[in-house]
Symmetry: C2
Subunit: 245 residues, 2 copies
């Protein structure tokens, strides 16, 4: 099932993709879902980020498959950087290379503390695509991931939440720049699994519904420049497109 968040004259509205339209729902986190009866045709829907997270976490040291990864290490990204599908990434100028980083994002569905490998996925509402845009050269002087991660619209998120991804550990990820595939990988190339990330994070911080965990870029970091169009394609979810200005 796909859950989107769309712009309406009365404010943001969550909705489910049903019978060729976005069927409005009251609250994506309640079970069972309650439909309002309203709907928006696909062609008329302006997609917003599918959630408005209070907490956005990145996972450090989860980049490319290797036998001896460093211990997992989470970090916070500003919720102000979350951007809608189609929004312009404003590349910070004169601050080194700007990377697009294609990742699988986990959207938390239920309050989650001290998760185990057995119950972690039960606390997930679903999955979406994220572009963890980064001024990568700042890393040398920015051990806490603030300077390189704080630009305007540096966290495109969407286009929607897929609640029934067959296997989050086996999701292909492709990064396209101006229509050309520049990176092809998937969560199967992450040294720590998606479940590992959730167990680690919730061993320290209680997550709440709507929080987002970006699970790491398995060789999916690609330099971009103003004028580029960048697509993050996650298998089983869809395509998150942005332009760079």
């Amino acid at each position: 099932m796909r859950i989107a968040r769309i712009s309406t004259p009365t404010g943001p509205q969550h909705a489910v993709d049903r019978a060729g339209t976005w069927a409005h729902i009251v609250d994506p986190f309640e079970e069972p879902l309650c439909y309002t009866g309203g709907s928006t045709p696909h062609g008329d829907a302006e997609l917003l980020p599918p959630v408005a997270p209070a907490v956005v976490l990145g996972i450090g040291h989860n980049l490319t498959l290797n036998e001896h990864p460093l211990p997992l290490q989470a970090w916070h990204k500003s919720a102000h950087t979350v951007a809608a599908p189609g929004e312009e990434i404003v590349a910070a100028r004169n601050r080194g290379t700007v990377n697009a980083e294609g990742e699988l994002a986990v959207v938390i569905g239920k309050t989650a503390a001290g998760l185990t490998a057995e119950n972690a996925l039960e606390h997930v509402l679903g999955y979406t695509c994220v572009n963890d845009v980064t001024n990568v050269d700042q890393g040398a002087v920015d051990e806490r991931n603030f300077q390189g991660k704080s630009g305007v619209n540096y966290t495109p998120l969407g286009p929607w939440i897929e609640t029934s991804l067959p296997d989050p550990e086996q999701a292909g990820i492709e990064v396209r720049v101006n229509g050309v595939a520049r990176a092809q990988s998937g969560t199967f190339n992450l040294p720590s699994t998606v479940v590992d990330c959730l167990v680690y994070v919730t061993s320290w911080l209680t997550l709440e519904p709507g929080d987002v965990v970006m699970t790491g870029a398995p060789g999916t970091a690609v330099p971009v420049a103003p004028g580029d169009r960048v697509d993050i394609v996650v298998e089983g979810i869809g395509t998150l497109s942005s332009t760079v200005s």
Copy 2:
């Protein structure tokens, strides 16, 4: 002027300390303030954190006065950790020493990007006390300040916002444990000034009204243990008290 946020049967309510009572206001960020006509007597007011920030930033490398400080380095703390005056800090167990860290917190009043030394303070609504509770031993394996900063109620904030602090660069800070002063210092001992912090942060990240910048602990980190009562006293603002469980 003091601005608090208090609990009422209809939800959180901002209010101004006026004529011995908390006079309710519509929005602490608008000018001039609009009074609703309602009020709550001091004795009946349950204080909440004075804002509900989307972004809470700490400032690394701003600890004790020295001539050659490392460059400023900000980091995000989870908004979920923000706690009200009087709430219990839940000390994470078996994870090393828990420090209380008494700091001056800046509450942003207007959207702030690329601030200068000249205009930085014009974007500030006011100041409050913050306790940046930390599992300090995690620092050795937690370069991004996630593990040591994520416990339940690890960011007591309050008791209210003081909008007219005479000089934020000269505010005394005292940390008391069980009524005994354990650290006495002030923002005058920070190697980088409060204004420096705002200029640095907004050179990278656009801040929004209600965001909070914790300006650093100038020798005001004190170990605490379950059962302790800890007070953060900032001169010109007031006392932020918490218990440790």
